[in-house]
Every structure is written in structure tokens, then in C-alpha cells.
């Protein structure tokens, strides 16, 4: 019996047992579909978070005071000293490193903003002009500390703040009071929404000098640094640590976090999560495989007389085995393809329901789901097929 004839004959058999075939195909399809949709969700979540995190800057390094390690040789801790503060001088020093494109010192606090008979508490960032490009913020109107304006009392309002305080009038040029000082509105941020739990629409930005004066501090909360290129990130980190160690009398009392390292960690965690979810979904494929085995065993019993007849008219054991394997192959194949389409449809619905979530099933997951479905289907039908092939022709023929 030729391969084409075997496949064609078994396909006709699949078609003729319509209900049975549909149920098995459905079971296979749901298994494959589940893998596709769940990996789409997992990978979508991964991409969503990576995108969010990437959007806060490019080649970004964050310098913070203190050491992140809980163990180590920081003698100051033993001697009861707190780590040295980061200062504006430190920031300026780092800004001169060859690997650094630009830097922005950062102070954060809260203060009351009042203008036009309105009053509210806002988050205040104190920084320099370079904060805007480093943090990928955009000004909708005006500018911030442009050209020699570092020491003037300027303020940039977040989009929502500007809308709240000046709903009908031009915010630029207005005078506002923040805490005890007066500021001139020089710019308005464009609306960006929330990234990583931080809403830039509800902040105000003032020059670093004014922020330090307002919060009565000389130390910095963070120093944000943008490396010149991706390959400069690691050298920049080493240079920053070396430079700070030198200016802090040989103490390693600062921590540098690179955006890359965090991205990698997120990527790894979420990749693992996607794999785990795919694995759980794959269990349904194994269940479908067992269903295929069950159905094929029933088919062998039902068609015992037919198998006997095929042997009587000259079918070899191999012919019979291949016919049953081909039947299982069709069931698995149609189920897998249908499941793939179902999964794609499901992912599409997720993308429609949650446009922010790029829920595309990764190619490896789709291929793996289809391959596992075919493999389990074939594996599960081995036993029924060889049972059919081994049937004794005389005994089989006498079955009604």
C-alpha cells in the first residue's frame, strides 16, 4: 500500500467517524490553543514590562548612596558610620567621565503648590535640564532651564497639574507658589501616563539648587547617568565606582544600578514564567494524547472484523499498523492546526481587549505546541496500532 493511499484512506476513515473525530480534534485543539494563548500572554507581559522599563531611558545608569550588598567589607557600618552622601560635586565629577554622555542629579520631595486660588500637594523633582532627555520626558510647551537659566526660579509642570491649575489659560509665564518660594512656569510636560508605577503627569520639576534649599539638604537622592553607547555601560559603571571611591576616601559606599542588568533580570524571570505556564498548558496535550490512545483502542475493537478482512485480502501487519497510525496522525494534525488558529484568535482577542499588552505567541511556543501534539498523538497510537497489526486474522474475521 502506497503512502499516499494510506494517508488518503485513513483520512476518509477520520471523516466517516465524524463525531468521534471532532471530539478528539477539539481536545487536541484546546491543548494547543491553551499553550499558544498562555505563552502569548506570558510573552506579552514580558514585552510590556521590558518596553515600559526601556522607555524610562537609554543606556541608563543610576547612582545611589549606600551599598546594596548586605555582606561585604564596608568598615563604616562596623564603626557606626552611615554611608557618605552623594553631592552635587560628585555628580559634576561623574559628568566629566569619558563614557558619560550626560548626567542629571536628582532630589525628590513633596510640597504644596498653589496658584490661581488652587492648592494641592505635588511630588517635586529637583534636577537639571538634562533630566528631560535622560528620562525620555517630553515638553509639550516651553522649555526647562534652557541656556544659563540654571539658577532662576523656573518650574515645569506635569501635564495633569498644568491642566488642573490652568484649565483655560496658558500655563507658561504664570507665577506659582511652591512651598514658600515663587516660581515662574517655563514649561509643561507632555502627557506620558504611568511608567513603572511613576506618573510623570503629576509631578513638577524645579532646578536642583532650589530643591536642595527647599528640602534643606546638600545630599542627592540619585544621580542619573546616560552612557555614550550600549558598550560604554559597563566601563561607565566601573569608572563611576572608581571615581566615587576616590572622592569618598577609598570607601565603596555607593551603588550603581544599570538599566541593562534590571532588564535582564526581568527578562529572565518573565521568560521562566512563560515557560512554566506553557508547561502547565502542555499537560492538557498529554491528556489529549491519552484520549487519542483511548479512542484508537476503541476503534481497533470496533473494527476487528474489518482488520481481519483486510488481512484476508492481503494487507500486511505493516499496512494495518500504518493505517491506524495515519488515522491518529490526521486527528492530531488537524487538532494541532486548529488549535494553533484558535490560539492565534485568542491572542488577537487579548490584544483587542488589552491594547497595551503585546500578546503575540512566540514562534518557538507555537512550533513546540504543534510538535508536542503530533508527538503525543503518534506515541499514544503506537499501542493501538500494533494491537491491530497483531490481530489474528481468523479470530478477527469471526468477530461480528
Amino acid at each position: 500500500m502506497t503512502l499516499t493511499d494510506t494517508l488518503h484512506t485513513s483520512f476518509k476513515t477520520v471523516v466517516s467517524y465524524r463525531i468521534r473525530s471532532l471530539l478528539i480534534i477539539l481536545a487536541m485543539a484546546l491543548g494547543v490553543g491553551a499553550v499558544v494563548v498562555l505563552t502569548a500572554l506570558g510573552d506579552g507581559a514580558r514585552n510590556y514590562i521590558i518596553n515600559q522599563f526601556s522607555s524610562i531611558g537609554t543606556n541608563l545608569l543610576v547612582v545611589l548612596p549606600g551599598r546594596a550588598e548586605t555582606s561585604g567589607s564596608f568598615l563604616g557600618a562596623v564603626l557606626g558610620q552611615t554611608p557618605r552622601d552623594l553631592t552635587l560635586k560628585d555628580a559634576q565629577l561623574l559628568g566629566r567621565l569619558p563614557q558619560v554622555r550626560r548626567y542629571a542629579p536628582l532630589n525628590v520631595g513633596a510640597a504644596e503648590l498653589s496658584a490661581a486660588n488652587r492648592l494641592r500637594e505635588v511630588t517635586v523633582l529637583g534636577s537639571t535640564a538634562d533630566l528631560i532627555p535622560i528620562r525620555h520626558m517630553q515638553l509639550a510647551l516651553g522649555n526647562f532651564l534652557a541656556h544659563g537659566g540654571e539658577h532662576t526660579a523656573q518650574i515645569v509642570l506635569g501635564a495633569k497639574i498644568a491642566q488642573e491649575f490652568f484649565p483655560r489659560s496658558q500655563a507658561i509665564g504664570q507665577r506659582v507658589r511652591l512651598g514658600d518660594s515663587r516660581f515662574l512656569v517655563s514649561g509643561v510636560l507632555s502627557s506620558q501616563g504611568e511608567t513603572m508605577g511613576f506618573n510623570t503627569d503629576e509631578i513638577v520639576i524645579i532646578p536642583i539648587d532650589y530643591a536642595q534649599a527647599m528640602f534643606n539638604t546638600t545630599s542627592l537622592f540619585r544621580i542619573l547617568i546616560e552612557a555614550k553607547s550600549h558598550s560604554d555601560i559597563e566601563p561607565a559603571k566601573q569608572a563611576i565606582l572608581a571615581s566615587l571611591r576616590q572622592s569618598h576616601d577609598g570607601e565603596d559606599d555607593t551603588t550603581v544600578i544599570t538599566q541593562d542588568a534590571i532588564l535582564e533580570t526581568f527578562d529572565r524571570i518573565l521568560q521562566t514564567l512563560t515557560l512554566a505556564v506553557a508547561g502547565i498548558a502542555a499537560i492538557s496535550l498529554i491528556v489529549a494524547g491519552i484520549l487519542v490512545m483511548n479512542v484508537m483502542l476503541v476503534a481497533v475493537t470496533q473494527r476487528t472484523a474489518e482488520i481481519g478482512l483486510l488481512k484476508a485480502i492481503g494487507a500486511t501487519s505493516g499496512d494495518i499498523r500504518r493505517l491506524f497510525l495515519a488515522e491518529a496522525l490526521w486527528l492530531s494534525l488537524v487538532g494541532a492546526v486548529l488549535g494553533f488558529l484558535l490560539g492565534q484568535l485568542g491572542s488577537l482577542l487579548v490584544r483587542i481587549a488589552y491594547p497595551q499588552l503585546p500578546a503575540w505567541a512566540p514562534v518557538w511556543a507555537s512550533i513546540a505546541a504543534i510538535a508536542v501534539a503530533l508527538f503525543t498523538g503518534m506515541l499514544a497510537s503506537m499501542l493501538p496500532a500494533s494491537k491491530a497489526a497483531r490481530l489474528d486474522a481468523v479470530v478477527a474475521l469471526s468477530k461480528k
Partner: protein, 215 residues
């Protein structure tokens, strides 16, 4: 049964010439079906030799025996053994399919068979939609589609009424007239009496072996 061995067939010595018309008769349990199954290579004797066309076939591999069944032997059963989900034409086509005959050739040969057995009108009907006589004609068409040298019929008219049974028998006898060896197993004396050579069996042994000239 105790430790007494039971023999379905015992001490059988039988030679059938090419082109003969033989009936094997006997009560049920006499071993006539087992003999037919051994001749048809469906069953293997525990000991003894079976030569077909001068070739020892008892020791052939399962695949080689399947090839002989496919090409040299045609089976006709009492209960027809048609595949219920296939049409008459598809049932007739089965041996060609197993033999790896090309689709074009298959169509030509199935069409010829449908014409020869007057089944043209019923070609696309399933067995459930055919009468008993039509079913047995499909089965005979299937048994002869590979042009075998031997036709083995096991109670071919057992499920048919008298008149239809006679029609089916004349179809089989026609094949014999064209040179095919015809072996019919039956417990019907009248049916068995039509054969030129009649073998009587009992308890796994051949009791009588008579030649009649019915013409």
C-alpha cells in the same frame, strides 16, 4: 478437555489441481473451515507442508504470505465482510489499494468489475443500502479484482435465500469455467453436490473424496 490434545485437523493429505471445482462438506466442527483457512494462508498448521503452485508456502514470512493472499487467493465469506463505511466501488477497490495499484488503473479495473457483476447502478451505495445478493456480488467482485488463481468461498450462500443463492453460485461457477480453481465450503448437500469433486469431513479428517461428472 483435560490433557487430551484436540486436533482441528488431523492427518490431512489433499491435492487439488489447478482449475478444479471442489466442495468441502461436513458438520460444524468437522474442520472444514480450518482447512479452508490453511489453504487461504489465514491460518498456519502446527505441523505439515502446504504447497501452492509447487511452492512451499508454510514457511514464508507473514509479509510474503500477505502478498500471496493478495495476488493469488480470493475470499468470499458467508457474512460478506464488506467495510460498512465504504461504498460498493470502494470495497471492490480495496485489494488494488493494498497492492499499490495506481489510481488510474484502479478506476479502470473497478469499473470493469462493476459492469461485469451488474453493480454499476449501485457503485456509490454503502453496504447497508444493498440487498444481500448485491452485497455478495460486491464481495465476489472484490475477491476477483486481482485475478486470483484460487477462489475460496466459505458458505457463500449461507445468508441468502434460495434463488439469490443460486445466482451467486452461478457467478462463482462462471469464474471456475474461466479457469479459476474454486473451493466451496458448505454443509448444504445440494450446494456441495454441484462441485465436480466432493470432500466429506468429520472430526478433522477427510472421510470421503469423490469425483462426479455433473455435466
Amino acid at each position: 478437555m483435560g490433557d487430551q490434545a484436540v486436533y482441528a485437523l488431523n492427518d490431512i493429505n489433499l491435492q487439488i489441481a489447478s482449475g478444479e471445482y471442489v466442495s468441502i462438506m461436513g458438520p460444524s466442527g468437522s474442520g472444514k473451515s480450518t482447512l479452508l483457512n490453511i489453504i487461504g494462508l489465514l491460518d498456519k498448521p502446527d505441523s505439515g507442508r502446504y504447497e501452492l503452485d509447487g511452492k512451499l508456502v508454510t514457511d514464508l514470512s507473514e509479509t510474503e504470505q500477505a502478498k500471496i493472499r493478495r495476488e493469488q487467493i480470493g475470499f468470499v465469506f458467508q457474512s460478506f465482510h464488506l467495510v460498512p463505511r465504504l461504498t460498493a466501488a470502494e470495497n471492490i477497490e480495496l485489494p488494488l489499494l493494498l497492492g499499490g495499484v495506481s489510481p488510474e488503473q484502479r478506476q479502470i479495473r473497478v469499473n470493469n468489475a462493476l459492469n461485469a457483476f451488474e453493480l454499476k447502478q449501485r457503485a456509490n451505495h454503502r453496504p447497508a443500502e444493498l440487498s444481500g445478493g448485491q452485497r455478495q456480488r460486491v464481495a465476489i467482485a472484490r475477491a476477483t479484482i486481482m485475478q486470483p488463481s484460487v477462489i475460496l468461498a466459505d458458505e457463500p450462500t449461507g445468508n441468502l435465500d434460495h434463488q439469490i443463492g443460486a445466482e451467486v453460485m452461478s457467478l462463482l461457477e462462471n469464474l471456475h469455467h474461466q479457469g479459476t480453481t474454486l473451493i466451496v465450503v458448505t454443509h448444504d448437500r445440494e450446494l456441495g453436490g454441484r462441485a465436480h469433486r466432493q470432500i466429506g469431513m468429520r472430526d478433522g479428517k477427510i472421510l470421503t473424496d469423490q469425483f462426479h461428472d455433473t455435466h
